[in-house]
């Protein structure tokens, strides 16, 4: 059975679209073929002129064309002052159109952190919000009780950008009517119950608390450099980026871009700490035990790590 897909961009940078083009095995073309997905509209890929586009939109809103999967990229811009005029189509707030599409959609996927939780502009004059979450809180643009026609809430695929495999996998599950188990922020467990830090090639340094204090020095980035890998969910070091690497592997701290409050207000590249121990510890860890464990780990660190001989 073929499915229709409509992709709309709100307050975003287009990065989720460009990230999606990196999908491999299947790539986007194979994916659309295998899943029999018909792309009704994508702002960067479609050629239809604005009249055909308007006719298509009308047909969807009048139930003449089914809307199986609605992908939303970018935040929903509600400002300034609640008008939505900071993001418009032909002079009208785009949010109103997105709201109308949401009533017709069988499934909605919020692609990326901005569409999921609001992301950039949540505390600004643009009054950005996510499709069904505003930062940590259920609600957002569509409200707490919203369900798409399938009975599911908006499926959130956070990440800045969203990894192509995560989107491809979610589309596969939906197109094959497979159940998607979601976590507390309505993100599929398959990709969002693993920590970013799992699979990082700096894990040995992490284990023995051999920490990096300056860029390019080999070590774990958690204690000083602001890395949130052990705190944040995401498959970056499991499925890797562009099939090659990850930020933490090359020495860029994880900034926690899947977090509902991304971009956090406190400084990046710096770990907030109390007496040298990070303020934010992995979920469920007791601070006292953690301090004891890290103290012992540092004492047990082998020389090859202390001398940074181990590769990354």
């Amino acid at each position: 059975m073929s499915r229709t897909l409509y992709w709309i961009q709100g307050g975003g940078c287009g990065g989720d679209t460009w990230s999606f083009l990196s999908a491999e095995s299947p790539d986007i073309y194979e994916l659309f073929d295998i899943l029999s997905i018909k792309v009704l509209w994508h702002p960067s890929l479609s050629v239809a002129d604005h009249q055909s586009r308007e006719e298509l939109d009308q047909a969807i809103l009048e139930d003449d064309v089914p809307l199986d999967i609605l992908c939303v990229e970018g935040s929903i811009i509600q400002g300034p002052s609640g008008t939505g005029l900071a993001d418009t189509v032909l002079g009208k707030p785009k949010k109103d159109f997105i709201g109308a599409l949401a009533e017709k959609a069988h499934h909605i996927i919020a692609v990326g952190t901005c569409a999921s939780f609001g992301g950039f502009g949540t505390d600004q004059e643009t009054q950005a919000t996510g499709m069904q979450f505003h930062k940590h809180n259920l609600g957002g643009f569509l409200g707490k009780i919203y369900k798409s026609k399938s009975g599911l809430p908006v499926i959130n695929l956070p990440g800045c950008p969203c990894h192509s495999d995560v989107l491809a996998g979610t589309l596969s599950a939906l197109a094959n009517d497979l159940p998607l188990e979601l976590n507390e922020t309505n993100s599929p467990l398959d990709w969002y119950r693993i920590m970013v830090h799992q699979g990082c090639t700096r894990n040995e340094y992490h284990e023995y608390r051999v920490e990096e204090k300056q860029f390019g020095e080999k070590g774990c980035l958690f204690f000083y450099m602001g890395c949130q890998g052990p705190l944040v969910k995401g498959p970056c070091n499991k499925i890797l980026w562009n099939r090659r690497s990850s930020k933490t592997r090359v020495g860029v701290p994880c900034f926690g871009c899947t977090r509902p409050d991304f971009p956090q207000r406190y400084p990046f590249f710096k770990t907030r700490n109390i007496e040298g121990i990070p303020i934010e510890l992995p979920a469920g860890v007791s601070r006292a035990h953690y301090m004891a464990y890290k103290g012992m780990a540092a004492a047990a660190a082998p020389k090859r790590l202390i001398k940074r001989k181990s590769g990354i």
């Binding site: 990230s19 890929l45 418009t88 950039f120 980026w241 099939r243 090359v250 020495g251 860029v252």
Partner: protein, 513 residues
């Protein structure tokens, strides 16, 4: 009597949303206004944040030129820290930006620009059927190949910088990564494969053969030399464009700006001869001559923009981004600011870059026809040919001598710095002020802010507004001439961070009056 009417054309296949508001005199455009339809407020979002936060936040202004923003942001911080950037770090910064540029130039050409050749406006064009095979959305042969090849070349950025898009691997004093020889070998293989594809399918000949094409006459000769040349995507683009007379479309001011692309490392085999400090030099080109570039001459004018101002154009260090509520008595029509160089608008992009680099073919064609849609797009299609030799050289030199990728430094508490780069669409600048260890002001002028500029206080149109005026629209149902002209500038509205509107209706009625 002529009939006057107004057309509003929403444009997709630009990065972000854009509407073109035209005033028509019969079938000819008599006035044009470009209207970005989204405002994201990135500059204000950076205020009060830590100095290095710009390295995480500004790449997210744009999903396709994310590395260009990272480089502009880090150069502003380098300047404030007063720290030298080691050669190997410079190479990594350049190589990643070049890989992103290869991706951008080919994706823009075959995903965003040439699909118009397969659109309804060209049903009668003799090459339409072939255009459909190549550029039909999502299914066209060249479209599919471009997606498959470009995602490979950006793997270079993932190897050297962790991921694409949106990494933050450039830091003041260098880069955080320390690539090993195997990483470099992998990058070289990716580059060689991509180059092979570019030669075989895009050019239809080797880089060596292409480098002999130095005049418009050479180009004609090259086109007829072999079927491979005519059938390549470049050959097809030339044949299709000539038939559609794209060299007659989208003229503009004929004034170009480039900030200079790819700083030369102190020690590299590339600059032995000329001693140039950039691969492509900075400058302003007008009246047929280049002149030296001076960033002090950059100002932004907000006379026709919805921002508070005392009327005087300001240098980016001196200006603020304060929204002014639109008002009926106000002549402002856009939320875009109007950047000016020495008081006048300037076009930026691959064409500007190659004109300032004195590329003989591009300059020859410019002398024949002036700036136009065909030439802008040709410059974008052939620019990759100029990047491969430099990339190959710098990959070969990375990590070979002293392997220093970072020099330790402390961020300043107070200061001012700017970072200027040539992004894929042209001149990109970040101007940063720090006070008390926090960002107190951040101004970004993107290439699209230059090209999509509204009028200034002297009533002078922005570059693509100017390029639209006088355009004859053959079929009002399919105004492909407008789409070509705007897309030849590779518009990136998500980058045009000031852009906002919502007042099309009000202004439309004004035009009817």
């Amino acid at each position: 009597m002529s009939s006057k009417n107004i057309q509003v054309i929403p444009l997709n296949r630009s990065e972000g949303d854009l509407e073109i508001h035209l005033e028509m005199d019969n079938d000819t455009v008599s006035e044009a206004r470009s209207v970005g339809t989204m405002y994201r407020g990135f500059e204000n979002l950076l205020k009060g944040r830590a100095p290095l936060d710009g390295l995480v936040i500004t790449p997210r202004i744009c999903g396709i030129c994310t590395t260009a923003h990272l480089k502009a942001a880090v150069k502003a911080l380098d300047m404030m820290a007063g720290v030298p950037v080691p050669d190997d770090a410079l190479r990594v910064r350049n190589l990643t930006l070049m890989a992103e540029q290869l991706q951008n130039d080919l994706r823009h050409s075959f995903l965003l620009f040439t699909p118009d050749f397969a659109g309804p406006a060209y049903r009668g064009h003799p090459l339409y059927t072939e255009a459909l095979k190549r550029y039909r959305p999502i299914r066209g042969r060249s479209v599919v190949e471009t997606v498959r090849q470009t995602k490979k070349i950006i793997e270079i950025i993932a190897i050297l910088g962790g991921q694409w898009p949106h990494s933050s691997f450039m830091v003041p004093g260098g880069v955080v990564s320390v690539p090993g020889q195997n990483d470099i070998s992998q990058c070289r293989s990716l580059l060689a494969n991509f180059r092979h594809w570019y030669e075989r399918r895009v050019l239809g000949c080797t880089l060596a053969r292409w480098s002999d094409v130095r005049t418009p006459r050479d180009l004609g000769h090259w086109l007829h030399e072999k079927p491979e040349h005519r059938e390549s995507d470049l050959g097809f683009f030339i044949r299709f464009s000539r038939e559609a007379q794209l060299q007659e479309l989208g003229k503009g001011h004929h004034r170009f700006i480039s900030y200079g692309a790819y700083e030369m490392p102190a020690r590299t085999a590339l600059n032995d001869a000329a001693g140039d400090s950039y691969l492509f030099p900075p400058g302003l080109f007008e009246n047929g001559r280049p002149s030296p570039f001076d960033q002090e001459k950059i100002t932004e004018d907000v006379t026709f923009s919805h921002f508070k101002s005392d009327g005087a154009p300001r240098h980016p260090f001196e200006e603020a981004t304060v929204i002014e509520t639109p008002n009926e008595n106000n002549e402002a029509y856009s939320w875009g600011k109007a950047p000016r160089y020495d008081g006048k608008p300037a076009e930026t992009g691959p064409l500007a870059e190659l004109v300032l680099a004195s590329d003989p073919l591009i300059k020859g064609l410019l002398e024949e026809d002036g700036p136009n849609v065909f030439l802008r797009q040709l410059a974008r299609l052939i620019r990759p040919a100029l990047l491969f030799p430099a990339m190959d050289c710098w990959l070969g030199e990375t990590g070979v001598n002293n392997e220093i990728f970072y020099i330790k430094n402390e961020p300043q508490e107070n200061g001012r710095g700017f970072g200027l780069v040539q992004a894929h669409r042209g001149a990109l600048g970040h101007w940063v002020t720090l006070e008390g260890g926090k960002i107190s002001q951040y101004q970004v002028i993107t290439p699209t802010t230059w090209n999509a500029s509204p009028r200034d206080g002297n009533g002078i149109r922005g570059p693509w507004e100017e390029a639209l005026v006088g355009t004859l629209i053959k079929d009002p149902e399919h105004p492909v001439e407008i789409e070509h002209t705007i897309r030849s500038f590779d518009p990136c509205m998500v980058c045009c961070v000031h852009a906002i509107t919502g007042h099309g209706k009000r202004r439309t009625s004004k035009i009817f009056c």
